[in-house]
Subunit: 214 residues, 2 copies
């Protein structure tokens, strides 16, 4: 009976939930790792939305992560993230370099936004950075992540360096700014913003409710 | 049987949880309103710890609330707070002035830290600001809050203006800085920090666990 209930529930598909992520963002890591399972459980379809925080931070006068600019806050964040990952049983190792440059990885995502293999790649990149302390700015590391998600990396990485991919990522960041996004992860459902890993459940509920009241 | 279980559970008192609050802090409002009930349910004793964010923000180069300095973030915060209060069924009206000056109210708290009437006063001041849009910098508004918590306000407000009270509040802010506090609310249990209304449940759990493993 429980199985039956879930099946019926899933048939009523929720409002699309946009997952805005930036590869350097620490709290995006636990959010990205668990969002698919949660969304699937509640019948909420996802749109993966890569963007860059750099230009947004720059417009606020920051040339580095606020966690580096304000070390007391940074110190807290690392401990908090460790606790969160521990609670969720998500592997975590503090990266030896922070923030890492996720530009090429983000261009892959912007260029191949709707590809079925993309979520696996995104999770592999986050795990490379936050579980295995690998330098995700390196094409060789991303090639490994692409291989993990079942793809021959060479052609994909070539396309990620194309003007089209660069433009696609710039457009994504412009869209993020237009939406009022100022940090990552941010979840957007029908123009309603939810900022942070802490708001993932609220965002899923909002999307689900949107479908039920539509 | 359930009643019996709760009674036994309460007998095992949790580690003291420090509740660090600043009257201008928006997310402190829902936290302060619900912390007593939660703590009591889990047998966690509370210490109320007033402090001022102003000196801490100044040391980060901010002369105003970051929600005013970064309006996009501020816009999100007000919507987020409205959603949170709605979810918790806590009355909320966006204050017409933000941030309001909570200096005198904080001095009352620093001077009368261990008084049994203090939690009622603190909740009354937060409600005055965030539910009734009253100017909590005014002694007349605080007098009303003291009366609500069962006290004749005149002597208390006089003492709150004494050098001893001013010094007590300065000491509190110095303690906050030493603990690594950078925002409000912050919950501290056995040197472990939990920042934000979002971490209240985790902080209560931590205090409870501390008692069980002691």
């Amino acid at each position: 009976m429980i199985g039956c209930y879930f099946s019926l529930d899933r048939m009523k598909q929720g409002t699309h939930l946009q997952v805005w992520f930036e590869f350097a963002s620490t709290y995006s890591y636990p959010a990205v790792i668990r969002v698919e399972q949660l969304a699937s459980l509640h019948g909420v379809p996802l749109n993966w939305e890569p963007f860059l925080l750099g230009p947004i931070f720059k417009s606020q006068g920051w040339s580095d992560s606020p966690f580096n600019i304000y070390p007391v806050k940074g110190h807290y964040m690392w401990r908090d993230l460790e606790r969160i990952c521990g609670e969720l049983a998500i592997p975590f190792r503090r990266p030896s370099v922070f923030p890492r440059n996720g530009l090429l990885a983000a261009r892959v995502c912007a260029q191949f936004k709707a590809s079925v293999w993309l979520p696996a790649f995104i999770k592999a990149v986050y795990s490379a950075n936050f579980a295995h302390d690998l330098d995700i700015s390196q094409a060789s590391v991303l090639a490994e992540c692409l291989q993990q998600s079942g793809h021959e990396p060479r052609a994909i990485l070539e396309q990620a360096n194309s003007p089209a991919a660069k433009n696609a990522l710039r457009n994504q960041t412009d869209r993020a700014i237009t939406l009022g996004i100022f940090g990552a992860p941010t979840f957007v459902s029908a123009a309603e913003l939810f900022w942070g890993n802490d708001r993932l459940d609220a965002a899923i509920s909002w999307s689900k409710r949107g479908a039920n009241t539509a």
